[in-house]
Symmetry: D2
Subunit: 119 residues, 4 copies
């Protein structure tokens, strides 16, 4: 059943949340992009002084902080997409396909160079 | 069928994408948090000089740019969650519940004040 | 006297601060870029639900928050530049000159379009 | 002479730049915070797939990119401060003093824990 898809469930939950609080008035795409970027940056704070190795082995407090920030990022992503009538699954699949063309396996295997450096 | 859920579909697509290119070595949680925040900030660029009203009425070029950046944000969110074994749907639902307690309807209706200002 | 220039004063203050705490070990350019972006995003939090007009008329609490976040941004900017031996004043003046060529007055006056749209 | 201080030189250069282009209308503090965070995030892009060690040994192309992004961050920092009549040097020095109290040498030496973990 379509409505049980994760992204649909979250979209509807966010709609209810905003409606109950009369917050639609604040949820312009511009404002939501700021909220999203703000939450994404809080993730940076979780990792900024950890080594890469440490970032894979979080303790319970660190893990909970990351989990909550990542949840906020997803919620604002879903909310912003909803406000602009963007189908997130289709958009994400189309972007993977585009990335696949920009980073062809035979050229980038094992390398992290940005694709503009290959052209 | 569980594996048709959007978030599962995207998780598996990102796993394949990285595996084909031997990119797992670059995908530490620390690095992924940087990629995620970088993509979220590119959304800001789409909106920075628009008014709130304009941000709801994007032209075709603007819309495509926003759609692609939002897709990138979702893809890195999914990828980072996968690397840390975070169940995004559960995490997001738990966060909505927590937000509901921090922003009780009767206190915040129609107001955008941060919840710390209510305490 | 050169050493009284603001950027030099702050560079030296940050050097002392890190040295006293033995924090140089954490201040790789990669980590500092995360700290800088994290602080810049905290500024977004100050403004995300304000209208543009409101953002020009902050109350005392809001003003203090913005002042502190902006200070953090400047401090990490100075610190990152120092670690990479970048002369911030020269770099900023060169960038203004470059921006001037990308956004010639006669083409962009009164318009906020990104310069790539003019080409 | 006060007007030769780096931060004053850059403030005045940014004022002229905006005035010539009639861009003051776009430079609300809200919009400038988005521009600043956007530029700070472009720095992340320079470093996201580099190791910490690599981030200290940039090649010429990488160095130029970092230098330009860092310049943009400084320019928008100066511009936002100007719009809100914030004295950046005073604000930064006050913040260093505050940070010094939050991170007393005897408690944090050699450790990167966030100060809230000490309390």
């Amino acid at each position: 059943m379509k409505s049980q898809d994760s992204l649909v469930v979250l979209k509807e939950a966010m709609q209810s949340f905003a409606k109950e609080r009369d917050w639609d008035q604040f949820h312009s795409p511009k404002n939501l992009s700021m909220a999203l970027a703000g939450e994404a940056a809080e993730l940076l704070d979780c990792f900024r002084w950890l080594t890469e190795a440490e970032s894979s082995k979080l303790d319970a407090n660190q893990f909970q902080a990351v989990e909550e920030e990542l949840a906020d990022v997803l919620l604002f992503t879903v909310r912003l997409a909803d406000k602009l009538n963007i189908d997130l699954l289709s958009a994400a699949q189309a972007k993977i396909a585009k990335n696949g063309m920009n980073y062809p396996v035979e050229k980038v295997k094992g390398s992290s160079k940005k694709y503009t450096e290959y052209k």
